[in-house]
Symmetry: C2
Subunit: 103 residues, 2 copies
Amino acid sequence: MSSPSETEWCVESLVALFQKYAGKDGNSSKLPKTEFLSFMNKELAAFTKNRKDPGVLDHMMKKLDFNSDGQLDFQEFLNLIGGLAIACHESFLKGPLYFKSQK
Amino acid sequence: MSSPSETEWCVESLVALFQKYAGKDGNSSKLPKTEFLSFMNKELAAFTKNRKDPGVLDHMMKKLDFNSDGQLDFQEFLNLIGGLAIACHESFLKGPLYFKSQK
């Protein structure tokens, strides 16, 4: 078997990341709020450590929890990853303009 | 600066992968059909090489091209990645049952 491509590695990694954090309470199909906070603080520390308002993560959880069951399922988790990727892609496309506006 | 977490690596990787394939024609914001086929054949070869019907990739492109402009934008590309990840996640959750049904 050949080694996985970068895309395959990425897909497997997203599944494994969700399983890792969601599985902490023995249920690997849902990410309740404590596990979401653990994920955010460990995996997206660059984002969370500069937030002075602790309500930001509460608000994010509520926005992502589309069916309002107090937990994130895998689809809802992917919406977070997709949102981050889109922000990253857009800042890449707008790169020079963005940096200009910061001067 | 600390090294990126697995999630950050994954997000950056998705953006870079799209740029890599979409940028081949000089426009890194859209993935036309030739670039989509190049992406599928190189990055998801395990999926494409066993397809005897060449229409499968045409059909996938049409399904993913939500606004029917003949190209995939980054959001449409992410829907492909998300779909793969969901299929992978579901087969993980259903794993033992799936293998049982194959006997």
